[in-house]
Subunit: 99 residues, 4 copies
């Protein structure tokens, strides 16, 4: 039951995490991140460990904030992507199994 | 049986995913991605989470598309690379085991 | 018992590893890494496999040191991030379970 | 027994893979990779999925070769780093256990 609640709130929690994390860097380094969409794109690029490097923190506070994002966000997005793959597989199974 | 079908279509599915994903970014940002091969190289570099940053999306649509690629592609390529390693090991086993 | 000791020293060990690894690159390439905070930021960005590329080793010794960091640090930070996610889940469980 | 042989040749195999992979890119793009050490550094940076982007393939052949490296190398280095972490833990156990 608790497990089900946890699973149900997982996706909204990840989305909220990304939106707030993007807001944080947008406020900390407005000169680097000129739009909120760019901030969201950068946060996801960072915690997906892609790290293109087209946008990077240049202030000390921005760098410390980025380290904090790695620790709190990389595992989270990894779980999110893992669940996405699994759910696609499960939906697929149900569709074929239901025929 | 269903599992075997799934395994059989997995490699063509990943290849099709990459070819279509590359076509998408090629059409969205023709100025950034000047050849289709470059688009394929960029898609695989992105979803393998290498992200060299030699090619990056510069438009808002391109950035949103890139986020969509992370969510749908990173898990997929990770599975693909995992299966590659396993299949190499299995072929290896059969060869030595068959002697 | 040994397992508990291992778990207890894990976080301080990772922190010490990062601080010393950052000191190493700071001493090897002072021209590239102009502050100790930048060195810490770079080490974590490298072993988290994000690799923005805003700071990179330019000397041969720096490059060899970076290879050494990959081998010793990537697995370590991956464990650290995995434990972080798990511990957040456990604390969460206890809180809700205790109600 | 076969498993033990496999484990014994794993580290030399990974080292040989890296040395040959570096030789390949060194021959394909001598203008990009001006030294063999740089080629080795680039190959490991690529297959560790760090991808700083300080060196990138610029020719079509170089890009195709890089895709081939991702598929054959990322899983391999991931196994290597995983084994490194495990072996450090085992050595550690033996040392403390032996006291
Ligand atoms: K990168
Ligand atoms: K990366």
């Amino acid at each position: 039951n608790l497990m089900k609640v946890r699973q149900k709130i997982f996706i909204p929690f990840v989305l909220l995490y990304i939106l707030l994390a993007a807001l944080g860097i947008y406020l900390i380094e407005p000169k680097t991140f000129k739009s909120y969409l760019t901030s969201i794109y950068w946060v996801i690029t960072a915690i997906a460990t892609v790290g293109f490097g087209d946008y990077v923190p240049v202030t000390d506070l921005g760098k410390v904030y980025t380290i904090f994002l790695y620790i709190t966000g990389i595992g989270l997005l990894s779980l999110f992507i893992g669940r996405f793959i699994n759910s696609v597989y499960l939906i697929d199974k149900m569709k074929i199994g239901g025929k």
